[in-house]
């Protein structure tokens, strides 16, 4: 009786899990559960990005021009190695293809790094953060002045003596850090936003600026290199056979040499020019964004200077290129639900069992310490990881009265529990935390699928034994923790 009683609302949760697969046997349900594999965070990423390799690679939505870049580089280099290198390596030195190879390798490496990495995207604010900010803005502006025109949302900050305005981003619901900007193509706020480069198919920001710079620098060397040696090739050949003959021969034996040189000619000017421009930007520690807007130019005022510059060119360059690389803030490959053993890990189980087994000789104090640890571990990870699931779902459907209570406790932070489970609140406040969260996470899987409301599920409810079986068969982490919590409830209630 006690086990059944102690897990009243959890029974509802178990029923809700079962009812989804009510037509199927218990054996089938794990398959269905496994079909709805816990999603990784990249799958629900709110920005307009494309992800590949299960979240390892991140690019902008339009990647057509990137493929063009790849093709241009590969074809040009390929033709060079195939047709010009054999002649040049025997005529002049084999170091030419070697150096060309190294340059090509460097160009491809940096290009892929630039295109595939996270430029420094700022994750959007969690609902709690956004609400807190709104409150502060209202207080600052005087909430009575609400009216029709929303007050301007800026914060002023003094950085190294220069006043910088921080703008509020309505999409990401944050105040943008200095030098961050919102990319309209990718719909993300990016730290130290430089520009969105269609050629690399990604934004260029704090985390990939050095890769971008090394890419255009090495590409300029490569194009100059290829251009120079293609011209050398034609000249040498023309010395042998005469210029016109050289040109005549080349389409037959060395196809596309002219095309190659033409492509290189135009590339050289544009790429070398771009490298020069970015060298200037790095040495003065500005972003393309700031330079175009003239944020730190003297034309704005005599007092205007760049507060981020270190003063001398060398330090600026070193900081931009050799400074520490900050980690990605968006955790693309993390899971949304905690299905990793973190929650249902042995530590939590042991905590509960430790508390329960030694209940006779443990004093209350020790048990409280154990339970506090349990709260800590339990609260920390699910709060952090389940919040996206909560936001995506808001409050559960009104039909689920018995379940919506605890879920509401989580989302709204209401301290008063629903009346349907009075027995739980008094002695199982801690173990409340995990089962409630898991109910909610269970919802994430079930709401698209299930039709009947929980009251309808109750009659079809199974005794605890069956639900334990269900636990065993369903997702490991959630249910082993359910088990633990159930047993813990049993033991705790008998303290």
């Amino acid at each position: 009786m006690t086990p059944g009683g102690g897990s009243g609302p959890m029974k509802d949760c178990e029923y809700s899990q079962i009812s989804t697969h009510s037509s199927s046997s218990p054996m089938e349900s794990p398959h269905k559960k496994k079909k709805s594999v816990p999603k990784r965070k990249w799958e629900v990423f709110p920005g307009r990005n494309k992800f590949f390799c299960n979240g390892r690679i991140m690019m902008a939505r339009q990647t057509g021009v990137f493929y063009l870049t790849l093709v241009l580089i590969l074809v040009t280099s390929g033709l060079f190695f195939a047709f010009d290198c054999p002649y040049l390596s025997e005529k002049i030195t084999p170091a030419i293809p070697a150096i060309g190879g190294i340059l090509f390798f460097f160009v491809m490496g940096t290009l892929l790094r630039t295109s595939f990495s996270d430029p420094g995207v700022l994750p959007r604010a969690t609902p709690d953060e956004a609400a807190d900010l709104e409150r502060q803005i209202d207080i600052a502006n005087g909430s009575s002045s609400g009216g029709y025109r929303p007050p301007p949302r800026t914060k002023e900050v003094i950085i190294n003596g220069q006043t910088v305005k921080l703008k509020y981003c309505f999409t990401c619901k944050i105040f943008r850090p200095p030098r961050a900007s919102h990319c309209s193509l990718c719909d993300n706020c990016v730290e130290r936003f430089d520009h969105h480069c269609p050629w690399v198919g990604n934004c260029v920001g704090k985390r990939n600026y050095r890769f971008f710079y090394m890419f255009i620098l090495s590409l300029s060397f490569l194009t100059v290199f290829i251009f120079a040696f293609v011209i050398t090739h034609v000249i040498l050949r023309s010395q042998q056979t005469g210029f016109l003959n050289a040109l005549k021969d080349s389409p037959a034996r060395y196809p596309f040499t002219e095309t190659n040189s033409v492509v290189c000619f135009f590339s050289v000017w544009s790429i070398v020019g771009l490298s020069g421009f970015h060298t200037y930007l790095i040495s003065s520690n500005q972003t393309t964004n700031e330079d175009i807007k003239g944020s730190w130019s003297n034309k704005r005022g005599k007092e205007n200077y760049n507060p981020y510059s270190y003063g001398n060119i060398f330090t600026n360059c070193c900081a931009a290129l050799c400074g520490p690389l900050s980690p990605s803030l968006i955790d693309r490959r993390g899971f949304i639900q905690p299905d990793t053993p973190q929650l249902a890990g042995p530590s939590n189980g042991i905590t509960m069992y430790g508390a329960t087994q030694s209940q006779s000789n443990m004093c209350d104090q020790d048990q409280c310490i154990q339970s506090t640890k349990f709260v800590l571990q339990a609260a920390a990870t699910p709060l952090l990881q389940s919040e996206p699931s909560i936001t995506s779902e808001e409050l559960p459907l009104p039909g689920k009265t018995s379940i919506s209570g605890p879920c509401a406790t989580l989302t709204l932070g209401q301290p008063t529990p629903p009346s349907s489970m009075p027995n739980l609140t008094s002695d199982t406040g801690l173990t409340d935390m995990i089962p409630l969260k898991e109910e909610h996470e269970g919802h994430q899987f079930l709401t698209p699928e299930e039709a009947p409301s929980p009251p309808g599920m109750l009659p079809s409810g199974s005794p605890i034994a069956h639900s334990h079986t269900m636990h065993v068969l369903s997702l490991a982490s959630q249910d082993s923790l359910h088990e633990d919590s159930v047993r813990g409830l049993v033991k705790l209630s008998s303290v």
């Binding site: 980690p327 800590l376 008094s426």
Partner: protein
């Protein structure tokens, strides 16, 4: 409300999330990651000012160490550049190492200082390095004075209630 010294007993019995406090970034030094050491008024009754400030100052110190531009970071940067950044595929950066230290520190602080006071720190990394989120947990039982009496009665009642169902 009167300042409640939360015994672990009370925390054990009832812990529900009441509110969250956000410690914002301090940009006065530029774009380096630093957090404001200003003491939030909501924590006035929950934790000593000095403990809180020390936590934030230590965190700031960690972040400054991670972002430090000096000899070792130059070495790492040059080596990475020389290998066309392929070395990042196998090596952990200095920043990542410091972040691991930070996460351990936060866990330790939570266990020793914040959880006993009904608070919980969230690693800023989980919030995009924008804020230090401090969750404040409230007791569900109203009176603190009758805690000893209510603990035995509620646990008994809870057990009875559980047994009754």
């Amino acid at each position: 409300t009167a300042p409640q010294v939360h015994s672990l007993q009370e925390l054990r019995r009832s812990a529900s999330l009441a509110t969250k406090v956000f410690v914002q970034r301090d940009y006065s030094d530029g774009t380096t990651c630093q957090f404001q050491t200003k003491f939030p008024p909501e924590l006035e009754s929950r934790i000593e000012r000095q403990l809180f400030e020390e936590t934030v100052k230590t965190l700031n110190g960690f972040y400054a160490e991670a972002e430090k531009i000096g000899g070792s970071s130059y070495l790492e940067g040059c080596l990475a550049c020389a290998t066309a950044y392929f070395i990042f595929l196998c090596m952990e950066t200095h920043y990542e190492k410091v972040l691991k230290k930070i996460s351990k520190y936060i866990q330790e602080q939570n266990e020793k200082i914040y959880a006993p006071r009904g608070l919980l720190l969230t690693d800023p990394l989980e919030r995009g390095m924008r804020v230090i989120e401090i969750s404040i947990y409230e007791d569900r039982c109203s009176s603190g004075s009758s805690s000893s009496g209510s603990s035995s009665s509620s646990s008994g009642g809870g057990g009875g209630g559980a047994g009754g169902r």
